[in-house]
């Protein structure tokens, strides 16, 4: 049975030309679920529109 993220995984796999084999799917899905859960946790934190991303380069 198809999992909720499978269509998304298929679409991004094609968009990025990644050679994902069927046997890897459940592991990729599990990792993606963790990343999305943590990403949403950050997303829930309200920040002002003016907030700049963290700096990286010093020039």
């Amino acid at each position: 049975m198809a999992e909720p993220l499978d269509d998304y995984i298929d679409a991004v796999t094609k968009a990025l030309a990644l050679p994902v084999e069927e046997a890897w799917r459940s592991s990729i899905r599990a990792n993606l679920e963790v990343s999305l859960r943590l990403g949403r946790f950050v997303d829930e934190f309200a920040l002002p529109d003016e907030t700049e991303p963290a700096p990286v380069f010093t020039v």
């Binding site: 990025l16 990343s35 999305l36 950050v42 997303d43 934190f45 920040l47 907030t51 010093t58």
Partner: protein, 465 residues
């Protein structure tokens, strides 16, 4: 003078400069220990014996000629195999990178260590592409914990922790993106310094997450840590993130200054949760020794860890995208699947993680107006068994690999300097993070030194090594 297994770097340098021991003898002793013990520890992936002997002979010749030698004269050291070593392919723990052309020039930090007289004896095992907290490696086998070889060395600089913990070398270099210096330091019972982001050059080292990558030293004493760190400081145009605004700020002369004037607090909330009793005990011992009773809550640390996770998996995926397309079956499957998943995280979540990062940095800056040092656990537990998949953390069964670094990630996320100090509990040591404000490595090292002098922090001898 013969070498003892646990001679510190400063003892070796002093003996060599004072002509009580030759640099070649110190080098041969390290090579002999590697030969004797590395079949078990599996810390080394390359041994640069010819190069080391040549360097040692050159130092001895300089001494014989009455020339001044550097503060690390004759001190053997080794580097995580993501550092470029001239003549070796920089494998970064991977199978794929072994096909790269050999490096033509050493990493900047190797050049600086050798300019100070240190002698490179080899390159060290690590988790594949540094995406690891365990020290395990499917291609090279795991580096092993010298205090119990059935246990993890910690990652991703596992070979660095194993080599210094087993006293094969007094100093090793590693990298820390989310905890990869502090975790092996904790599990292997040694001192480790993750400097401020941008302090030490990363030039000619293989990256993982550019906006989070740091390089730094491991040692068996705070003095050796400062000695190595001081030798490696300085701007470097070859690393875009390396500071151009800070001059050399030597820490060694400040190391023995008292710590009684420092405002030291215990990191509360998130940092007091999800801990095994050993981690609680270690933090308690350090806090008691330093007279720290104030508890400071670090706001939104859980979200900081989440944001670090998102940035790591996406930047890592971007770095490896071509290799994932061309050679997916040559990765450790677990690393490959994490990276492919990272490539699928929507961009707005990454942007928001980077914005959250700046907000979080301002919160910590506010804390450091009234605090000089924060104390926090380095790992939630002592070294788990090799191959262990899950542990019970805070009443919840969780995967070991992903959760070993939960207390280090919110700190490196904003680049704060940290010394991981070893607390020699029985049967296994565990580390505590001594965290200072940006650019105040001197304070973190000073506290580490004081804890060592009080006997609270110490690198315990590994039985059998």
């Amino acid at each position: 003078m013969t070498t003892k297994p646990e001679m510190t770097a400063s003892e070796i340098a002093s003996a060599v400069a004072g002509r009580k021991m030759s640099a070649l003898d110190a080098t041969e002793a390290a090579l002999a220990r590697i030969k004797q013990h590395d079949t078990i520890l599996n810390a080394f992936t390359d041994i640069t014996a010819d190069r080391a002997r040549a360097k040692a002979r050159a130092i001895d010749a300089d001494i014989a000629a009455g020339k001044t030698v550097g503060p690390l004269a004759g001190v053997p050291f080794a580097v995580k195999n993501l550092f470029d070593v001239a003549g070796l392919a920089t494998r970064a723990g991977s199978k794929i990178n072994r096909d790269r052309a050999p490096a033509t020039r050493d990493a900047t930090l190797i050049e600086r260590m050798e300019a100070a007289g240190a002698v490179l004896v080899g390159a060290l095992n690590m988790g594949e592409y540094a995406y690891d907290f365990t020290g395990e490696n499917v291609h090279d086998g795991p580096s092993r914990n010298p205090h119990d070889t059935t246990r993890m060395s910690g990652g991703s600089s596992g070979g660095s922790g194993s080599a210094v913990g087993g006293a094969l070398v007094p100093i090793a270099l590693g990298s820390d993106t989310n905890g990869s210096i502090r975790v092996p330091s904790s599990f292997c019972g040694i001192f480790g310094l993750k400097p401020t982001y941008g302090r030490l050059s990363r030039a000619r080292s293989f990256p993982f997450v550019a906006s989070l990558d740091h390089l730094g030293p491991f040692a068996r004493s705070a003095t050796d840590l400062a000695l190595a760190y001081d030798a490696m400081q300085g701007p470097d145009a070859d690393d875009a993130a390396c500071t151009t605004t800070r001059g050399l700020e030597p820490t060694l002369p400040l190391l023995a200054n008292p710590v009684s004037d420092l405002r030291i607090a215990i990191a509360g909330g998130y940092f007091q949760q999800n801990l095994f009793p050993e981690a609680v005990e270690a933090v308690s011992r350090v806090a008691k020794a330093l007279g720290a009773t104030r508890v400071v809550d670090v706001p939104e640390a859980a979200r900081a860890r989440a944001a670090a996770y998102v940035i790591t998996t996406t930047e890592g995926a971007s770095l490896h995208l071509d290799r994932l397309r061309k050679r997916p079956n040559d990765f450790d499957p677990a690393v490959r699947d994490r990276l492919i998943a990272g490539a699928m995280v929507p961009a707005p979540l990454v942007d928001r993680a980077q914005k959250f990062r700046r907000w979080y940095r301002t919160q910590l800056a506010e804390i450091f107006k009234s605090v000089d040092v924060l104390i926090a656990p380095a790992t939630p537990c002592t070294a788990p068994k090799l191959g262990q998949i899950n542990f019970n953390l805070g009443g919840v069964e969780l995967p070991v690999r992903a959760n070993i670094g939960i207390h280090t990630q919110p700190i490196s996320f904003i680049g704060l300097p940290v010394v991981a100090v070893p607390v020699p509990l029985e049967p296994l040591p565990i580390g505590v993070q001594i965290i200072a404000a940006p650019w105040r490595e001197d304070i973190a090292l000073r506290v580490a030194y004081a804890l060592e002098k009080m006997g609270v922090a110490a690198a315990p001898s590994a039985k059998g090594f």
